[in-house]
Symmetry: C2
Subunit: 335 residues, 2 copies
């Protein structure tokens, strides 16, 4: 070791020490928004088990993969998926170039702000609206449109930014897992390029770990510059069976932990459980009418059926009651 | 700081210091198999530029993405892609269950070991052989088949394991980039699940950073266990325009450096160059008949055309002459 190198080494060593002290301090309670009940304990016990080097359930850091659904798992999906509101605003913005939309569904309903009308035909209304408004530009132009929208768009009931309508207890789970060497991924039925522009800022999850449904793109040289142009054609729907298929395609390993809230997430949880060694599966049950929403089997978009509840109990999956398990729902001060 | 924590902190600090010393030691010459000429200098200059924090070309670590073609860029693709030999051996292994293959192309040629015969109809012969032999099992069963094969399969000319037929100078580039905070990815026309089982061991690239062509998979519960079954149907061809499309899908950011060796890689290099800030594009020219192979515009599988060379010169891409630029080609002792 030379003399000139020493101060740098000491600085590095101190930084390392500081980082470690911080981790230890947090370990006291990494999940402060969770009530001290079974759900919280199941998370903490699992993390302790897979990170204990001398233990029988130890998992090396590279294999500590945790996958999360987005809508209803990390942020609020009621009264409708956020992407509905984005699509509505895009339809409105583009309507001057499409006079025919005034009388053509699902566009007429979008223009009237009648999202229940759009949903009347199921998700196809949303898909048709998305095809007509999420395509025709480069991927970089689309990212800018999303970014501009998400920084100002607000929830219709609370008036909070959609990016504030995220679940504080789940932000704590994301941070807690990462502090314990996990790599956190999103696998959502929502659009991959609708989530990537803001997921790192809001969830701390970088673009390459955000996967969702996608439309096709086309490679082009425009004025000598290579771009990808978004086409009005579905590429992949990252929901139900699509989730484990996308997990294999994007990660190439089974997750050891998976978090969801509806039947759309069931195959992802089953796939996670299907690997060997310790596994953790969690479902969030929306049962808090006062602080969020109550919905279950009857939900059109994200049903939590009796069969799913039975499956969870039979397989030892953790079921979170938002009402019982969460001290706080959102990061802002709520009633 | 408590007394019990101190020894641990000192150990961490020492480990950090050791890691740093190692990095500094390597920096002396991280590319020892490269001759001191323009190609090597272009790599080192680029890395110095984007990692200099106070410099105008600094790139934060999260955006230091480098993408590599595999066949002909990281390992030898002559006389044929390695996956041809794998497919041939799979056809041979499965032929007892397929008596009709003896007289049916491309299988008859595979069984005779006549790979030029397979190639007579272009890549479709390889694809047909792959569909018939790479599907019908779970993804985990297929990974085991690949692993078993790759640990013993040898190059027909040198008698070396295929995994030894990797380019030592490129292994050094991979390690050098990673030591400088880059994330290294493979984007190959070859099968994604053909590369993932061994890419980490051979190249230090984990499965989630290995992307290739893929077939479709189907989610199933088998005896209550969730699996993905491989289907005999193409999902995506990760070649030519497919490379930038897959890069956007899997990473969601433009690479700042890209490495290839044929027209199949041109769109990936163009896409890399199309971003703002410092960029690095490199093509390997196979011009060393004595130590490897000579092939260019006439190559059926991986042409390096005059137009590609002109494009490289016009755009300031680095062109590596294997003969002039590389002291050593393979990690083993060669003539």
């Amino acid at each position: 070791m030379t003399i000139t190198r020493t101060p740098y080494l000491i600085a590095i060593a101190l930084l390392c020490a500081l980082a470690m002290t911080t981790t230890i301090a947090h370990a006291a309670d990494s999940l402060p928004s969770w009530n001290d009940a079974a759900a919280k304990k199941s998370i903490v016990d699992f993390v302790a088990k897979v990170t204990k080097e001398s233990g029988p359930d130890f998992v090396p850091p590279a294999e500590r993969i945790a996958t999360f659904d987005n809508d209803g798992t990390l942020w609020c999906e009621q009264p409708l998926f956020v992407q509905f509101y984005f699509t509505m605003d895009r339809v409105k913005a583009l309507s001057p170039q499409h006079p025919e939309w005034k009388t053509k569904e699902p566009f007429a309903s979008f223009l009237k702000g009648d999202l229940d009308g759009v949903l009347a035909g199921g998700l196809s209304g949303l898909l048709e609206g998305a095809m007509a408004t999420h395509a025709g530009m480069t991927t970089e132009e689309f990212a800018k449109i999303v970014n501009d929208w998400i920084t100002t768009a607000k929830h219709p009931k609370t008036g909070k930014l959609f990016t504030e309508m995220v679940y504080q207890p789940m932000l704590e789970v994301l941070a807690y897992l990462r502090a314990n060497g996990f790599k956190t991924y999103i696998f959502s039925g929502g659009g991959i390029e609708f989530m990537r522009p803001w997921a790192e800022r809001v969830y701390g999850i970088p673009p390459e770990q955000v996967i969702g449904s996608s439309i096709k793109t086309k490679f082009e040289l425009r004025d000598g510059k290579a771009v990808l142009v978004r086409l009005p054609e579905m590429n992949f729907i990252d929901d139900k069976d699509g989730k484990p298929i996308a997990i294999n395609q994007h990660i190439g390993r089974r997750p050891i932990a998976a978090f969801g809230n509806s039947t759309g997430d069931q195959p992802m949880l089953e796939y996670t459980q299907g690997g060997s060694g310790a596994r953790f599966m969690l479902l969030i049950h929306h049962d808090d009418a006062e602080r969020e929403y109550v919905y279950g089997a009857e939900s059109k978009l994200a049903p939590f059926t009796d069969a799913l509840m039975a499956k969870a109990q039979q397989n030892g999956w953790t079921v979170v009651s938002m009402k019982q398990d969460w001290k706080t729902i959102f990061p802002f001060k709520s009633k």
